[in-house]
């Protein structure tokens, strides 16, 4: 470090001092424990010399900005965007985020810094919120079971199609798609279907019904992309008669007025919950949804929250049916979806909790009335409104649609260009509140009034001021037989918290049940629970970013395009690639996009037979699941006893499949938390046989500034912005999984039919030619300012320091705990990378204390458990990250050592094997204050094990931060055997 750089790094306003938890002093103590002299020496010894980035390697990253400077630059970018009233529709609607939800959920670290609720005892708050979401979706769609959200509507449709193929008894590859489906969904479907050999048949279902022939399923958009509402029950019945399944992509708000898909016979309903209070944010993040009829529960992809019971027999929530997921089933998984959109699903569910069934219906009435009133006013001016029956969108014939779109834009409104002589107007909660004069918007102010039939509905106060004066409930511009007659959201949770005070307290109550980063360390290996800084989060809710429609004109989103282009460039620089696409909405989707790029590349070269994908046995299960969905065949490569790729087996498999070799997928550093020494030999062997190398970037945070995938043989990678680049986990989503590639693969990265081009002179997003993998052109732009700010404020040096600090922290934990728990895998010089696997199996063998016992006991000590039994059963994988300070890391170490001591007492027979503080953990306040205490250990040991275990400053911190779990250990098997995935009646808790 130069003196100038040192001064900059230590300057009081330098962000890196805030992001990195350890200081120069504490790092010295940690280095002593590890037995190395400096972080430079640590990295030089841990990272194989063959892949190390030179110290003087050039970087295109600007020098680190302070927090204040970064905000000022973001303000300048935001000012280049122009927010107009959106009437574009197509699955993205203006919505009013209740302020109580914005402040207490979206802007509240108790919600956004939580992890996926794998440890259910410390996640009851968000599990309840997700159960509310599932209940809301199931009720509104009229189906039995909904999952805990999907990545977006278009990918939910893809998953619906794949589900239909699995569950259908028809032996055919044909899937029929409604011609009135959202165009972005059709684009995503086309590429995804082609990769797995599904034949799509597009048909005008409303006009002509189902086409002749076999089919395994049909997709109906309800209402249609054109806004049209028609009764699809006959088409659905016909499809089912032919052995197919009916998938209905439905608008949740419309379902409060229209007969829901379940009552029309649908097997599956999918869609987006965006318009339930989640800003459009230029495309995301939003929670998609999927619901199924009874009998298809086990086919649901993604996460599913269910009800079980705890050790006291009390109802408790948990993730159900996890063995379906790809980390277990690998290439036999039914889907590669692992992430949900939890934070956004929570927001949407709270919107329903806050408004309640009557409130939602009232909003829908107003939206529908606005559209109906607009149609009437336009007809009175002689305009032709294409469909008589609609919910919120109408298509209007005009002389010159392009000119009309421009005129409307000049009046501050985005309307949709449909074709040369048609525009569409979509109404929503925002426009229904008034302010848009559709007659002048379409330039019909001077048009003569014509006689049209007076609608049946009446104005409540016909003062001519607009639709806000309409009597809600009076307007019905859709088929009478489709009027919804069934009730919904009758559960008390949707009928209780309608005052802001009530809502605020409900959100606080739920947040207090959970353990997030605002309480303490979450040392989850492979998950990278680092700081999500307040400054990084600041821009997320700025209207210039939040209120953009994803298909808004390029000129109006110029600032966002510049931000996206800049971030793409920085990520390419940090990884050694040429191009980056930010479109994938999760790591799994980045994997899929990268593998589809490899497939596209081979096919473009005439190598259609290159379909074999080699995957080491240590890989994350999602790798294999994604490969299958990209149309590849998985061949597993063995690992040696040190956990590394077995080079001999790799060479044998490469030789055996040489002409058919498409790719190798490896993770670097490996899922074992080790910098594999021979990675260059691995990538060279694959290239020599004509294969492409996919490097899974899940562990990029151990490499940034020290090595680059593109320099040591990677052709393509996905990155996880929600790990390495500080996007918060949100309790299990959102995620952003950009795909980065070398130039030869770049043409095959995701494209999008509505991708905007940056204005001349600005480095905007890259433009590619592969199949789209998300509904929106740039995935989830709403959260990209987070990663942009992180890179901007760290600079190249700061990012490298973060890597070093993370690796030092992991090695420090390994050094301190290895005596109590053997470290399973190590790399060069006995060093680990950014995480370490603690082997608990010897302890389990000698004492009977299991991984589960230790994980749950950590709750009593005030910690979130490390990753359990991944990637190796019977182990814990610890990743401290660079953001934790030494005090917190030591507190964790002391807790783990104390638990080891407790296990010894169990092993020695001092405590019975079935009645000890480990087996009974975690302990609730209720349990330790019960009159009866029949246990072999004291209440103090149960609840305050810090007393004799934790010393020094850590003790103060721990006692002050005592976390009480709301439930005792949850019975996992009971919940899976007795599947309940909707809100239990309140009486269940009495």
């Amino acid at each position: 470090m130069t003196d100038l750089a040192t001064r900059r790094a230590l300057a009081d306003d330098a962000f890196r001092r805030r992001h990195i938890g350890t200081t120069v002093d504490t790092q010295e103590r940690m280095l002593d424990a590890v037995g190395v002299g400096s972080t430079d020496e640590l990295m030089a010894r841990a990272v194989p010399a063959a892949i190390q980035l030179a110290d003087d390697a050039p970087s295109t990253l600007p020098p680190a900005a302070t927090e204040r400077q970064a905000i000022a630059e973001l303000r300048a970018l935001a000012a280049k965007n122009t927010v107009r009233t959106s009437m574009i529709g197509l699955g993205y609607s203006g919505t009013i985020t209740p302020a109580v939800i914005q402040r207490n959920v979206l802007e509240n670290p108790s919600w956004y810094t939580a992890y996926t609720p794998y440890q259910p005892e410390i996640s009851q708050g968000r599990l309840e919120a997700l159960l509310n979401f599932q209940t809301m979706v199931a009720d509104l769609t009229g189906l039995t079971t909904a999952n805990a959200s999907m990545l977006d509507e278009s990918t939910a449709v893809v998953e619906g199609m794949l589900l239909a193929r699995r569950a259908s008894r028809a032996r055919t590859a044909r899937f029929v798609v409604d011609a009135d489906t959202l165009p972005q969904t059709r684009a995503v479907l086309a590429g995804r279907a082609e990769a797995v050999g599904i034949e799509l048949v597009e048909a005008d279902l409303a006009g002509a019904g189902l086409p002749e022939g076999d089919l395994f399923g049909v997709l109906v958009q309800y209402p249609g992309a054109s806004g049209r509402v028609w009764d699809p029950s006959a088409v659905i019945a016909d499809a089912k008669e032919r052995g197919g399944l009916a998938v209905v992509a439905a608008d949740l708000l419309a379902m409060t007025l229209l007969t829901p898909p379940g009552e029309l016979g649908a097997d599956v309903a999918v869609g987006s919950s965006q318009r339930f209070g989640v800003p459009m944010a230029m495309g995301g993040p939003h929670a998609g949804f999927m619901a199924v009829r009874a009998g298809l529960e086990r086919q649901l992809p993604g996460r599913l929250v269910g009800v079980s019971k705890d050790a006291d027999g009390q109802p408790a929530y948990r993730l159900s049916l996890q063995a379906r997921e790809q980390h277990i089933r690998r290439e036999k998984a039914t889907s590669n979806i692992c992430t949900a959109q939890v934070l956004l699903a929570v927001m949407a569910s709270m919107y329903a909790v806050y408004h309640g069934p009557a409130g939602l219906r009232w909003i829908a009435e107003r939206v529908h009335a606005s559209a109906a009133d607009a149609a009437h006013r336009l007809r009175r001016r002689g305009a032709t409104v294409r469909h008589a029956e609609f919910f919120d969108s109408i298509e209007v014939e005009v002389a010159d649609a392009a000119a009309t779109v421009e005129q409307a834009r000049a009046q501050g409104v985005w309307v949709r260009f449909v074709d040369r002589t048609t525009v569409a107007l979509a109404f929503d909660e925002v426009t229904a509140a008034g302010g848009v004069d559709v007659v002048s918007l379409l330039g019909l102010g001077d048009a003569a009034l014509v006689d049209v039939e007076q609608p049946e509905w009446r104005y409540a106060h016909d003062d001519g001021s607009g639709w806000s004066a309409l009597a809600p409930g009076a307007v019905r511009s859709f088929p009478q037989q489709l009027r919804r007659t069934s009730g919904f959201l009758s559960h008390p949770v949707f009928n209780t918290f309608h005052s802001e005070t009530g809502m605020m307290r409900y959100l606080k109550y739920l947040a207090d049940l959970d353990y997030a980063l605002d309480r303490g360390m979450i040392p989850l290996g492979s998950c990278t629970m680092k700081l999500n800084a307040a400054t990084e989060m600041a821009a997320v809710t700025w209207p210039e970013f939040a209120d953009l429609h994803p298909f808004a004109p390029a000129e109006d989103v110029a600032g966002s395009l510049e931000l996206i282009g800049e971030l793409e460039g920085w990520l390419a620089d940090l990884t050694g690639y040429d191009s980056v696409s930010l479109q994938p909405n999760a790591g799994s989707q980045g994997e899929l996009a990268g593998l589809l790029a490899i497939r596209g590349y081979h096919r473009a070269n005439g190598d259609e037979d290159r379909t074999v994908c080699l995957i080491p046995s240590s890989a994350h299960g999602t790798n294999a699941a994604s490969a299958v969905l990209a149309g590849l065949k998985v061949v597993v490569v063995a690992c040696d006893e040190l956990g590394n790729v077995d080079l001999a087996d790799l060479r044998a498999k490469v030789a055996a499949h040489a002409d058919r070799l498409a790719a190798l997928m490896i993770t670097y550093p490996s899922t074992h938390g080790v910098y594999e020494h021979e990675v260059r030999a691995v990538t060279d062997a694959v290239h020599a046989a004509g294969g492409q190398v996919y490097i899974d970037g899940a562990n990029l945070n151990a490499l940034v500034g020290r090595a680059r995938f593109g320099d040591f043989g990677g052709d393509v990678s996905h990155l996880n912005l929600h790990k390495t680049f500080c996007i918060p986990h949100g309790g299990g989503g959102p995620g952003v999984g950009p795909v980065a590639a070398k130039a030869h693969l770049a043409p095959h990265l995701p494209s999008h039919p509505f991708a905007q081009e940056a204005p001349a002179g600005v480095r905007g997003p890259g433009r590619f030619g592969g199949t789209p993998v998300s509904a929106a052109p740039f995935g989830s732009p709403g959260i990209l300012p987070i990663s942009w700010a992180y890179v901007r404020m760290m600079g190249a040096d700061g990012l490298r320091d973060a890597t070093d600090a993370a690796v030092l922290a992991a090695n420090y934990v390994a050094a301190r705990l290895a005596g109590a728990y053997p470290v399973l895998y190590r790399g060069d010089d006995g060093l680990v990378a950014h995480e370490c696997i603690l082997d608990l199996r010897p302890m389990t063998e000698s004492t009977g204390v299991t991984v589960d016992d230790v994980a749950k006991r950590l709750v009593d000590y005030g910690f979130h458990a490390p990753t359990m039994s991944f990637p190796v059963p019977g182990t814990l994988m610890v990743e401290p990250t660079e953001s934790e300070d030494l005090g917190e890391i030591d507190r964790f170490v002391e807790a783990m050592l104390a638990i080891r001591g407790e296990a010894e007492r169990v092993g020695a027979g001092e405590w019975p094997a079935d009645d000890n503080p480990l087996r009974n953990a975690p302990h609730t306040a209720r349990a330790v204050t019960d009159t009866v205490w029949p246990h072999a250990y004291s209440r103090e040991v149960a609840a305050y094990p810090f007393e004799d275990a934790i010393r020094g400053e850590a003790r103060l911190r721990a006692v002050r931060g005592k976390y009480w779990p709301p439930v005792r250990r949850i019975d996992q098997a009971y919940g899976d055997r007795n599947l309940v995935c909707a809100c239990p009646p309140p009486g269940a808790f009495e």
């Binding site: 049916l321 063995a323 996992q972 098997a973």
Partner: protein
Amino acid sequence: MANEQDLQYTADHEWVDADGDVVTVGITGYAAAQLGDIVYVDLPKVGDEVEAGQVIGELESTKSVGELFCPVSGTVTAVNADVAASPEVVNSDPLGAGWLLKVQVTGLPDLLDKAAYDALTGAA
């Protein structure tokens, strides 16, 4: 419950009670313990033709999924409806009430005896 000494075994941890043309198939206690709490059992349908070595079903626990390999060839004559309703029976009584299916055999491959199976699982 069958006498475990009289049963035959596969290396994939199924047991076979070969009594006449119709054999009963289940998974061993060792396999059930390895899987942990079984929560779902997927079995073939009565009348299905099955072949030795073919995957004919799945046993799912809270943490894992085990494939059920058919130890014999033939036609399925019965499946145990009780384990579908109460999968935990496979854990509590794998050789008895936790049986999985009965097959009218057309081919019975060479299988392991109790001693050979114990040697495989290290139980001997």
